[in-house]
Symmetry: D3
């Protein structure tokens, strides 16, 4: 049970106490995708050359979403992120919009939830902007691909 | 291009004008899952009989997340939701936590983004609470399964 | 158990479904007090004739706090309040700052949580502004004194 | 003094009670500009043909800012906006980025503060994105140009 | 008057300048109670053995509420809390739900307002979840019981 | 193009990476004005001697607005401000309410956006509180007047 650090010895949920942790440079990268029909993907691709395209709106929403993480995830610490980067790309072979987000912090706790939240909010925004054309889209494969800094060391997804 | 309603004729992103739409009862249900190792799923299942369990925290986060939708998704309308319901279940066969969210509104626009956001925030919260034990979890299969009310009629996922 | 409307039949917390309720004019008034030493009360009273006094800051915080209720209380509905009024008065006999808040809505659910939240945030703000002078203050007697509109009828505290 | 509706008879600030007002369609348009050097304006113009340009980011920030109005302006009512539209244009003759925002609501109170807030947040975002190149920019001429709906009738700026 | 640090020499409210203060480990604990009828307390107690009970919802709301302190209290500094812990217990003898919150920070300013806000939001949430059964509940005895770190030294309530 | 630091080499908007910057004491001061008719200015001046006056409400809104900067401006970093000061003064000769805001931080990035946001929100609040009397007010001359700390050195507006 000791691995579920978000509960104290009496079984109450808690924000983990990081007061005594070192402030080190931490980084996390997460990925995810929005899967859709080829027709819908083409709609996004055709917009991409214009200003105000779907990917730009989703990218900004992802950056802003990373900053809202402690408002959304009950036990996340409020953090002063030093960097947020979100990128979206179309993969016609998989009929997917692929999203990658990297967050950084010099602080006492990891930023994987911030990167995962950025990906999720960007994915939801892609969905929102295209939903009038396609109700059967699917958001998936949201996962951590890289994490560095902090006591637990570096993690790289296989 | 007319299907991308979030852009005006000049190509600018916009919040769609729903001033003239009828206020009708609208409902939307979304689903999604967090996939993990059998060991991690067992950790959650073993907590489930105690107060403060992972699923309860995630369920509340999902309900609160639905209310934050217009803060997160740039072109979503602010809405006075009349109902939010979020449920989580363990599926040992698929090593998954399955999440279902239903939102309702008597208003001028659909609530599928609210239901999808509730699922996403609940999934992120499950991830957060178990991430010390398992970094290879994957959030996926977030999709709309039901939508009713409004001009476009009822939608049921196959 | 039927009186705990915030749980469904399976025992899950939920935002109560008010979709089918009538939109009527609803009003709620709450009260509360901050108790302190005579010396501290005098500090506030002496400020009161100047701009930027303690009571004015707390009154505004209470009004803004009422608007944040759905962000703070997990199962509260987001509401379009039509009126918020907060008043603070000094009672030298009881060494107290007394706070009264009234909220109104034309809608489907009551506004007592909004009035109680306004009182609580105003009380916390009084505390914050005077805490350098007095750490033994006490916030108390926060309660509903009036509620009207809706199916359950009018409530007046004794 | 009766014209300062945000104060009650005792001189306390209040959110004006609109419970008894009719819910009508209301619209407001505001304008404003960011003035800068010709060199800085050229930097923005040169970006404009690419994705992720300054004007697109500012336009989205303006739309999202309109939704935050009741969080920012103490005595504004929370509103369920039905439409937000923000446009930005470069005027080389005046070395200005010109911003226009229109908000709509079917409700009990006007939306001029929402339109003015959208313009202000878009202007601040333009400033933020170009400030590394030019610290002497100036935001100005933020004003209401049109307002319709509600008891006070239609207003058009000269 | 020098004890009212939230005003400058001209009488304007201000956020106290802590730029030159040392960043030290700070901790604060606050307490408070919700008083109710024996019948209402029994309703909560009977729920406690199930998932989704009243105390768990209120505990999470308290933790999240602590993070919203700078949004609610006008002159509070935004802080990167390193720990938030909220506990609720039933006291049948006093017909009370007792709430204790402890916040920690390594920073330049104290965290008593965060602890007091956590208690207040948890108390409001208890009230919200039981209000259908009992409108005469009373929130009270919210006070600081411990504070350490910073120039003013350790405070313990008698 | 290198001066537009909010875009990466591929043209995507990003939050600038400040992980490697030094944490130094930073300060920024911004100014702005609300211009109105002499009659409207007199309305504000006549209120000024009472509690709850227009300038006090606007001053608090400005302080709270500074704290919301990262929620409003997409690419701004979340910051733990150590000081916010907002002042408003009437200038009868120019029929103007003049606003000055100073923000401070010990951190890795400048705080000019926080100061400019404080001025903007205070100006919008003045507008809101007087708009029933005067729809032709104009918010203008919002600019940076001082900035110190950080690699780019001290800036003083001419």
């Amino acid at each position: 049970m000791s691995t579920l650090t978000h509960f104290d010895e009496s079984g109450n949920a808690r924000m983990v106490d990081v007061s005594d942790k070192d402030a080190t440079e931490r980084s996390a990268t997460a990925k995810g995708s929005v899967y859709m029909s080829p027709t819908t993907l083409a709609l996004i691709r055709d917009r991409e050359v214009k200003k105000g395209d779907v990917l730009t709106v989703a990218q900004l929403a992802g950056i802003m979403g990373a900053k809202r993480t402690p408002d959304l995830i009950p036990l996340c610490h409020p953090l002063a992120l030093t960097s947020v980067k979100v990128e979206l790309q179309l993969d016609a072979a998989r009929n997917a919009v692929d999203i990658t987000a990297t967050c950084k912090l010099v602080g006492k706790t990891g930023v994987e939830m911030e990167a995962l939240t950025a990906v999720s909010v960007a994915a939801l925004t892609v969905y929102d902007m295209v939903k009038a054309a396609d109700k059967s889209m699917r958001i998936g494969d949201i996962r951590l691909v890289h994490k560095s800094g902090g006591k637990s060391g570096t993690y790289e997804a296989l």
